[in-house]
Each structure stands twice: as structure tokens, then as C-alpha cells.
């Protein structure tokens, strides 16, 4: 061995505090990473940053605001579980997709993609876990909203003498749940396609609205708008009043606003160097 080797062995013995290479007692690795575990980790990553926490807080505040507004101003006869939970869902419809956007973009803006993709090199699998976990988060938030609304329905009965009906319109419940998941996925898709938090958020918020405004002002766009305006097709879905005509319209609008950006985003992130 060279003189260098001898020198650094001497140094090594001085700094013997390091125990790299010592037995760690860890069980040997077996198999790959199950998809469910990947989803749980992705969900954790959406909620363990300040931005994630504050978005959830903002959702709670907006929901509280609307639910209070309903409790104080609505007719007693209109105070039902369904009406309260509907007014309490606005926060997540507006803001939860932004968590989806950031789930996709923060990997690239904070460059954590470097770690993420060395721990799971199958990038599309990671992106699918982002979609699954963000969608699940939407459903969890929605379930919480329904639970809180149930409590407030009791408050309405006791305090405002509200109607307090416990009847749920399952078409509305299923439609709102699906719409929320689709909006969150749209957020993830915009994030993956644009890979920049501010650009993706602005695009997600502004583009569909700009299109809606255009179709309202320009006569000739009204026909195609029925097929291409995702705000319109999703609001029909949320009202739980889907007819046979509405499903293909929803599908076409989602193709444009969800499937195309998602496909481009998956393609782009699979190739890009983090």
C-alpha cells in the first residue's frame, strides 16, 4: 500500500467516532417498493411542508366561512345536511387542486426529484402514486367535510330551528366526490406538464376561466363550449344531474383539460434530467 493509504488510516483511527460499515441490525432488503407504500409516502410529502399545511388550513377556513354564512343567512327550511355539506365543499374545490399542483412541481423546483428518482427509478410509477394519493386526499377531505356538516346540521336544528333533513342525494355526493378527484388530478396534470409552481397554478386557475369567459362573450363558441368547458361539465356532474348526453361531454372536456396535459406531463417527467 502507498504512503497515502497509511496516512489516511492514521486519520481514520483518530476519527473513530464514525461507525459506517458497522452492523446496523437492519433486516436485509427484499423485493421492490409496493405501490401502496409509495402512495403513502407521496401523501406525506403533500402535507409535511408549510405550503401544504397552510393550504389545508385555508381550505378549513374557507369552508368554515361558507358554512357560517349558510347557518346565519339561509332559510331555516334550507338547512339540511346536504345543503350544509355542499356549501362547506367550496374550499377544497378551489384550493385542494393546488396541493396536486405542488405535489408535481415541488420535486423539480426544490430538486427533490434527485432523491425521489434514485429511491424509485420508475418515474411514471411515482407520478401515478402522486395521482392516487392526491385523489385519496380529496376523498378524505370530503369525508371530513361531511362529518363536520353533520355536526353543524345538529347545530342548525337546535339553534336555528332548521329543517335538519338527513337525506343525502347520492347523485350529488358521488358527483361532488368524483369532481373533486378530477379537479385534483387536473392540478397534478398541470403541475407535471409545466413543472413550475407559479406557472402551473396560474395556468390551472386562469386558463379554464378564460375559456369560460370567452365562451360567454363570443356567440360562436357556445356550441363547442358545451363539450370543452370543464367548469360547465363538472358543475353538471356536481349537481348529480348527469344525463346520457352529459357523460360524453364530460369525457371530451376532461380529455382536453386533464388527459392531454397529464400525458404530456408523464412523457416530460420521464425524460427530464432532475
Amino acid at each position: 500500500m502507498s504512503a497515502y493509504r497509511t496516512t489516511h488510516q492514521a486519520v481514520g483511527s483518530v476519527t473513530d467516532a464514525s461507525s459506517a460499515g458497522q452492523p446496523t441490525g437492519l433486516r436485509p432488503a427484499t423485493g421492490g417498493i409496493p405501490f401502496l407504500r409509495l402512495c403513502r409516502v407521496e401523501l406525506r410529502k403533500q402535507l409535511d411542508t408549510r405550503a401544504g399545511v397552510w393550504l389545508l388550513v385555508a381550505i378549513a377556513l374557507v369552508n368554515c366561512g361558507f358554512i357560517a354564512l349558510t347557518l346565519f343567512t339561509a332559510d331555516a327550511a334550507a338547512l339540511t345536511w346536504t345543503s350544509l355539506s355542499q356549501s362547506a365543499s367550496l374550499g377544497q374545490l378551489l384550493l385542494l387542486p393546488l396541493i396536486g399542483v405542488m405535489a408535481a412541481t415541488s420535486e423539480w423546483s426544490a430538486r427533490t426529484a434527485l432523491t425521489t428518482f434514485t429511491l424509485e427509478p420508475r418515474r411514471t410509477r411515482v407520478n401515478l402514486a402522486k395521482l392516487a394519493s392526491a385523489g385519496a386526499l380529496g376523498l378524505i377531505v370530503m369525508a371530513v367535510t361531511f362529518a363536520v356538516s353533520a355536526v353543524l346540521n345538529l347545530v342548525g336544528i337546535v339553534w336555528q330551528g332548521g329543517d335538519g333533513s338527513w337525506a343525502l342525494d347520492w347523485g350529488v355526493v358521488a358527483g361532488s366526490g368524483l369532481a373533486l378527484v378530477l379537479l385534483v388530478w387536473q392540478g397534478v396534470a398541470f403541475g407535471l406538464a409545466l413543472l413550475s409552481t407559479p406557472v402551473a397554478i396560474v395556468a390551472y386557475l386562469a386558463l379554464p376561466t378564460v375559456w369560460t369567459v370567452l365562451t360567454l362573450t363570443i356567440e360562436s363558441l357556445r356550441g363547442p363550449a358545451e363539450w370543452l368547458d370543464v367548469n360547465q361539465t363538472l358543475s353538471v356532474l356536481m349537481m348529480g344531474a348527469m344525463t346520457a348526453d352529459d357523460w360524453p361531454r364530460l369525457a371530451v372536456s376532461l380529455l382536453v383539460w386533464l388527459a392531454v396535459p397529464l400525458a404530456f406531463g408523464l412523457w416530460r417527467t420521464a425524460r427530464r434530467e432532475p
Binding site: M1, S2, A3, Y4, R5, T7, H8, Q9, V11, G12, V14, T15, D16, A17, S18, S19, A20, G21, Q22, T24, L26, A29, G31, G32, I33, R37, L38, R40, V41, R44, K45, D48, T49, R50, A51, S106, A110, R111, T112, A113, L114, T115, F117, T118, L119, E120, P121, R122, R271, E273, P274
Partner: protein, 301 residues
């Protein structure tokens, strides 16, 4: 000997620029392989290709016998630190490690173990990474690399931002990792850093491998340095015996071995005052010789 890392004819072209040009090397278990080159030589790009983050334009590489992307739960086999700055500022150091630990299915105690191993205190672990110094980020990055108890470490400029004590600590860490049978590939543009720790060397400049082999081999400089009361006569005697001789400030340097010089001096009855193997020019000279022709001098020592 099994090679834990192999690069075969790796080439990476970005538009017209060739970042890595036909790079082949191996890294073996129980040894620290130093990947040495000036800034922009292609070290990082090569390591990104090894870790499956960049696709080579041509060539291939394997880690533990398979392409990196084919590894199952790679964090349990290969510890990677490519850029200590690539961490989410809004997370605490502990949370950042916990995410990786959860993904690798490691017990939570392992996070505390590696924090301690890299010298981050529990309260530092609970601080958001935004407030970390470069040295702390580097330690956190090393903690992340060691987390899964890997057999192979791939570290890009791990000494960056560490103070001298930190650099010494890291040397000890890498040496004991290799001594326990692990494979280390570490890149650096800091000559002294690599010189002190590497068993094998791969020297790269402008995307090409300029030299590779064991450090002992690459650093061995044959020859002898000698001083005597009559250097002129000793030089002539050595010349007569067929050895090369050069006069230096402090006596003469010759291609003869120490034994030969002693024997010749004795035969010529010359009093020798200083006799030793030629000073090991070291990696630095080798490095400069190898890279100077490529015109990149921005090397800090």
C-alpha cells in the same frame, strides 16, 4: 474481483456539446475509487448516468451487476449523494430522512442513527433545511446516502462545504465503510481530498478518461534523489553506469534505485550526505500533467 460499479463506453451528448466521451471504468468492493477531474470535466454527468437519472447517448453502466433502474428498492443497496442543495427547504432534516426511510421500509430509529452518525444533533435534525449551512446540508445528504445501509456509495463532491475537521471526519467514515467491504465511488476536484482517501483513481478531463488504476501505481515515481560532497563526480559515475541524471537545487535526481546509487557512490568513494527515493510528486503533479493539455486550470488544491 467482482465489480460493483461498471461504466462501459458511457457517452453523453447535449446538442453539439459532448459532456462525457466514451468513459469506461469499474469500482470494486472494499476500495474507495476516486473520480477526479477539474470542474466541467463530466464527473457529475457520468454519476447521473450511473444512477439512472440521465440517459446515456451511447454506452451503458451497471451497479451491483444490473442497470441502476433495474434495482429493486435501490436505496437499500446504493447510497447516492449527487447534490446536497437538492433538498426541500421547507422540511426539517429529520422529516426529509423519515420520508426516505418510510419509502425504504426502515424502522424510524434508523433516522436517529444516521443523524448521529453524520454528527447532526437532534435539535439540528428538527430544524428546517432552509436554515442549514452548506456543511450541514452535506452531512444531511451523507445521512440520506447511508440511511438504507447500502453496499455501494456514489458521492458527488461530498467534501464540498465541509470544514477541515468535517473533511477529516468524512475520510474516516468512507475508509471504514470500504474497510467493511463497501464500495465507494467519490468524485472531487479537490486533489488532496482524493489523494488522502482513494485506493483507485479515475482521472477525467473534458469528458474523457485520462488515466486510471490503483493510486499506488499511478503515484509511484521511480528514481532516487541524492546529495553528496561531490555531486559532479557522482553524476558522472551514474551516467557511466547508464542511468539518467538531472541536477536539481538540492543535489541530483537519477533513474537509478537507491541501492544502485549507494553501490556506485561507494565504488567511486564519494561521501553521500542525503540519499532517498525521489520525492513522490503526488497526484497533484500527475493531475496537472494530465489535464494541463486540456487547458483547464481552474483547479483548487
Amino acid at each position: 474481483m467482482d465489480h460493483m460499479i461498471t461504466a462501459e463506453h458511457l457517452t453523453k451528448r447535449y446538442r453539439s456539446r459532448v459532456a462525457v466521451d466514451d468513459v469506461s471504468f469499474t469500482a470494486s468492493p472494499g476500495r474507495v475509487t476516486g473520480f477526479l477531474g477539474p470542474n466541467g470535466a463530466g464527473k457529475s454527468t457520468t454519476m447521473r448516468m450511473l444512477c439512472g437519472l440521465a440517459s446515456p447517448t451511447a454506452g451503458s453502466s451497471t451497479v451491483l451487476g444490473v442497470p441502476f433502474r433495474a434495482l429493486e428498492n435501490p436505496g437499500r443497496h446504493v447510497g447516492v449523494l449527487l447534490d446536497a442543495a437538492a433538498q426541500h427547504n421547507g422540511r426539517t432534516g429529520r422529516e426529509s430522512l423519515s420520508i426516505s426511510a418510510q419509502l425504504m421500509n426502515l424502522p424510524t430509529r434508523r433516522v436517529e442513527e444516521v443523524l448521529e452518525l453524520v454528527g447532526l444533533t437532534p435539535s439540528e435534525g428538527g430544524t428546517r433545511i432552509r436554515g442549514y449551512s452548506l456543511g450541514m446540508r452535506q452531512r444531511l445528504g451523507l445521512a440520506a446516502a447511508l440511511l438504507g445501509d447500502p453496499e455501494v456509495l456514489i458521492l458527488d463532491e461530498p467534501a464540498n462545504g465541509l470544514d477541515p475537521a468535517g473533511i477529516r471526519w468524512m475520510r474516516g467514515l468512507l475508509t471504514s465503510f470500504a474497510a467493511a467491504g463497501g464500495t465507494v465511488l467519490l468524485s472531487s476536484h479537490l486533489l488532496l481530498e482524493v489523494e488522502a482517501v482513494a485506493d483507485d483513481l479515475v482521472i477525467i478531463g473534458q469528458g474523457r478518461v485520462l488515466a486510471q488504476g490503483s493510486a499506488a501505481e499511478l503515484l509511484a515515481v521511480p528514481g532516487t534523489q541524492v546529495q553528496s560532497l561531490d555531486d559532479d563526480r557522482l553524476g558522472a559515475a551514474l551516467n557511466a553506469a547508464g542511468f539518467d541524471v538531472a541536477t536539481t537545487g538540492a543535489g541530483i535526481t537519477t533513474s537509478a534505485t537507491v541501492d544502485d546509487v549507494g553501490r556506485i557512490a561507494l565504488g567511486a568513494a564519494i561521501v553521500v550526505t542525503d540519499l532517498r527515493p525521489a520525492a513522490n510528486a503526488g497526484l497533484e503533479e500527475l493531475f496537472f500533467t494530465m489535464t494541463a493539455q486540456h487547458g483547464r486550470e481552474d483547479v483548487s488544491v
